[in-house]
Structure formats: C-alpha cells, structure tokens
Amino acid sequence: MNTVLSRANSLFAFSLSVMAALTFGCFVTTAFKDRRVPVDIHVSRVMLKNVDDFTGPRERSDLGFVTFDLSADLQPVFDWNVKQLFIYLSAEYTTRSNALNQVVLWDKIVLRGESTKLNLRDMKSKYFFFDDGNGLRANKNITLTLSWNVVPNAGILPLVAGSGHVSLPFPDMYESTKSY
C-alpha cells in the first residue's frame, strides 16, 4: 500500500542513508591529513622542591615547578571535521625505576571558532609535577611536549604530538622549603 505514511517513511529512510554517506565522506576527506603543527616552547624558570606527597608513597617526593612560554598557530589543524582540540603539555623523562614517566603539566580546550593562536607567557603549570620518588633531582633530560587530541565530527580520535619540543635539565639542589 502506498500511503502518505509509507511515502514519508521511505523519504525519511533515504534521507538518513544519504546523511550517513555524507558523514562518511566528511571523515574520508580529512582522514589522511597531517595535523602536526610547529610549536615553540620555552622554559623560563625551573624550581625543584622535596615535599611530602600525601597521595602517593608517603615519602618525601620530588615536586617540580616549571614556568614556560608557549606559542603555536593551530589554524592548520582545524577543518570541517574538527569540533575542538584538547591541548596538553606533558613532561617525559626517565628514572632509574621507570623507563618512561609521563606527567601532564597543563592543558587547554580550544573550541571551533575560538582564537587559534596560542601565545602564552610565563605560564605556571596547572597540575602538580610530582615524581613518584626522587627522580627529578639532577635529571638531565626532561622533555616537554605539546600534544593534542582532535575531537572530530565523524571518524577516529587522533592523538597528535606537535613538532618542536624542549629538553631541559633539572637542578641538582632542592629549593629550601620554608617552614610555615
């Protein structure tokens, strides 16, 4: 029977199929895009303390304070299949107990339509840079990298590391903690 309802049903089903095909096309046009962007990270100040870590191993652990400058233009990352970027600055380093330590120091969400130029001066880290022991003191190679998650309309959720990272040595001495 061909009625108004059956015609509406086939019309709606056909439109949905076409929308699904278009969404897949949107994914295909951006699937093989290189979303790396040059990033300029500059660390202006490093401070190291040895404090009680009440959440972790119940010992005095190394706590780093990093002040950094960050500049990048994220405009090339955005296209019609990007809703937002989740940007985060992470520190990677090696200690005797762990071959790879990764600590997220700072993050930011850049929504579509917002300003894509990052130009940040004298930023303090958002999260504590705690080591799970004493691996930060005199560590000569701590690498800061800016990476981002691309949140798409359709398709995979790529994790991209920005090209341009900075390696820095940490001081040999602890900053003297004031007694309060």
């Binding site: 019309l11 095909a21 278009l22 969404t23 949107c26």
Partner: protein
C-alpha cells in the same frame, strides 16, 4: 480521531508513485551533493546537514500530498458486472455464522 485522517485522500496511481519516488530521490541526492561541496568549501559540516534537511523538507512538500500530477494515469477498471441474484443473500449469512462461532 483516526476516521478523520482516513477521509483525507492520499492515493496516487502507479505511475505517480514511481514519479514521486524519483522526484524525492533526485531532490535529496542533488541537495546532498550541493551541501557536501558547500560544506567542504566553507569548512562547516553543519551547512551540509542544513542543506540536506532543506532538501528533505522540499521533497516532503512535493511528494507526500497526492498532487494532481501523480494522478494522471488512473487504472482503467472493467465496467461493473451485473450482480447475481442468489449470492449476495448467502454470503452475509456465512460471515455472521463465523462471527457467532468466535
């Protein structure tokens, strides 16, 4: 309530049904192509969705109501045969018996 809707004519003849289907498929495919190209151009997938939805609305208006252009080829039925004298009186009786059994 439903009887009101049933009185609204919604019939299309067979050629009209085929024409209606071709029309809505064509409109939606064309709007999909336009929307995809335009969305790719302005880098906004939302525009693609809106253009396809507009095509959906246009084809709803064009093909859901039984417009006169879908009723141009009505089926030519045979002229009604003269009725037999005995059958019409028997058949209703059979149906009433069946209903009584239920």
């Amino acid at each position: 309530m439903l009887s009101i809707f049933k009185t609204i004519p919604s019939h299309m003849d067979y050629k009209g049904q085929k024409l209606a289907e071709q029309i809505f498929q064509g409109i939606i495919l064309i709007s999909a192509v336009i929307g995809f190209v335009f969305g790719l151009f302005v880098e906004q997938f939302g525009w693609t969705v809106y253009i396809v939805l507009a095509g959906f609305a246009v084809s709803c208006v064009l093909t859901l109501p039984p417009w006169p252009m879908y009723r141009k080829n009505p089926l030519s039925w045979q002229p009604p045969l003269p009725e037999m004298s005995s059958e019409p009186s028997q058949k209703p009786q059979e149906t009433t018996k069946k209903k009584k059994h239920k």
